[in-house]
Amino acid sequence: MTSAELIAKLKERFGASVRGVSEINPNKVRVEVAPDSVAPVCEALYRDYGARFIITAGIDSRPERGCFDVDHVFSLDPDKTFVIVRASVPPDAPSLDSITPRVPAAYWAERELYDVVGVKAEGHPDPRRLIMPDDWPDDVFPLRKDVKHGDWPSLGEENADASYPWKPAPEGTSTVVVGPFFPVLEEPAQLRLYVDGERVIDCDYRGFYNHRGIEKMGDSALTYNEIPFIAERICGICGFIHSSCYCETAEEAMGIRAPRRARYIRSLMLEVERIHSHLLWLGIAGHIIGFDTVLMQAWRVREPIMWLCEKITGNRKTYGMNLVGGVRRDIPQEIQPELLEVVDRIEKETAAIIDAVVGDTVLKARLSGVGVLPEEKARELAVVGPTVRGSNLPLDARVDHPYAAYDEIPPKVITHPDCDNWARVVVRLEETIESIRWIREALKQMPDGPIMASDIPEEIPPEQWGVFVVEAPRGEAIHYVVTGGDNRPARWRVRAPTYQNLQALPYLIAQETIADVPITLGSMDPCFSCTERTEIVNVRSGESKVLDQQELLRLSREATERMRGR
């Protein structure tokens, strides 16, 4: 079904509710619908036309058009098409019918919508805060345009004791708090497990302790060409994915395209990143189940490619390669034999690891049958990446929505039918091999030419938009850019793959044992942080004290005040 057909069907079904269509190309359309028919339209897309929910972006368009825009982004994977359902909401007391009851995957996205732009999702099953701190004032929405970058609301004392409204523990269960600081958690996030003995009955999640406000920076402080470097820092492991995805999206919005060689270089680095991310993940997964040998050996295998990255880009990680319109550094001819040699070695060693690991019954006993996510549930929760491919659904943005050079060399999509932690391990290991194959292929076909576009327009017109997904090692990262004046976007919406995957966590760990929680968590997401109690030592008096939460809160507020004062 092409987008034209789809829109015809929508128009036929919803009549005048479909108000307008804007289109970049036949594969990317934005449908403006009346606010009261957003929910039915989204449901129709999800249930009847096989669309997959991706993200919701709230845009404060009051300066331009006097309304809030809410864009629900959907993907029609078989047709390589994005459909954005846009509703314009009047500015006073903005609210919109929630689509979560009909499209469960929008669970977090709509909570976030209220948190950042203040558009209430009416009828949302769980309208708690998602992103903003518990003591954040109720009437300040940071992504609205009247909140300037660097502005801070006064955090009144009345909210100082606010705490997150946790789900009450079910009868007969004990609460086990996991996080904010837990050995295997990727970020300071808190998970409350309601357990009966070793068995997890239910859980509740609170994250976003580290919310950095990058989207706000993007639409109010940074220029188009500064954003790639900040986007790269969204994630330490898959930074290049975010900068590539932003650049591709921004290029689309500006109507330019990076030169072919630049796109090959981007894809190459993306695959390199996938290889080292998967190996890193393998090591950490091993560490989580106490198999430190896997950790050490997987990281040993990974190390050569890190050095190679440093050679190519100037750094092991955060390559700093992307700019809107192309890449900064070329991959010189003389590095290519070394690159091939390194990937050959990694392929051999990874194959050896796969060979050893698949026969390891102890390992398999530990991973099989745990964290099961059946196909239909995976589709319902719209999980992405190896998590969804481990549930036997062949979803891969490189094939579904080709970007960079993947339209020329399509990769093979790896799936596994087991739907459990073991399936996710196997998918990742096989994807590593596939990436190596892809790199070899790409090096053979890599064209010569410039690496930076020369047709960048002098002025970027506002109200242009672009949307792209990039297949990160963990799943799809999506960037949605709406251009503004002023050499910066009016809205830059980012969704990391974990955002969608984490929503499946309660489902995955329910009825599992406490012992399986870390590895199930780890099976979809590989960054972990580990930290200690905060302690402040007064150097002069030698006294030390441990901070409790209140004090810590006070100190961090003071620090924020200092930063603002500067």
Binding site: L222, Y224, R300, K311, G314, G359
Partner: protein
């Protein structure tokens, strides 16, 4: 199971010992490694191109007096993208190979360059952004033309 354990053991023992006794024997970075940046004050012409492209805004340019320009690098904020080195027309800013930048005193991470400026004979604008996208948007980043030195950054 035994066979796979043996395979695992072979993988392990074949590799030998690969870690380095790090602080005593550091690993040399690659040739074009983007380490901490340095400024060669001799070469700097004070065009402030570096300040304009710096994504983390850690390069501050002030003009305390009409003939004096101060360029300060607050490297504790630096993200090591080396854009400054890339755009510098005179190669005054370069990325070194230095990566061990841990320090107890943030002053160690500051570089201050003071230049006596004279009027340029050519066009008055030594730095042209590589693309239109690199135009700085933040006012106050650079003092207004002919500023009189009260800009605090």
């Amino acid at each position: 199971m035994i066979i796979s354990k043996l395979k695992e053991a072979i993988i392990c023992f074949k590799a030998g010992r690969v870690t380095l006794p790090y602080p005593f024997k550091p690993h040399d970075p690659a040739e074009n490694f983007r380490g901490r940046v340095t400024v060669d004050a001799e070469k700097c012409i004070g065009c402030a191109g570096c300040a304009e492209v710096c994504p983390s805004r850690c390069i501050i340019v002030t003009d305390p007096s009409p003939d004096k320009r101060v360029i300060e690098f607050f490297l504790e904020r630096c993200t090591y993208c080396a854009r400054c080195a890339e755009v510098c027309p005179e190669d005054a800013v370069t990325a070194t190979q230095e990566f061990e930048t841990a320090t107890n005193d943030t002053q160690d991470m500051h570089i201050k360059v003071e230049l006596f400026m004279s009027t340029c004979r050519r066009c008055g604008r030594c730095y042209e952004p590589p693309t239109p996208l690199d135009r700085p948007m933040e006012t106050g980043m650079r003092p207004p033309a002919g500023g009189n030195g009260n800009g605090e950054g």
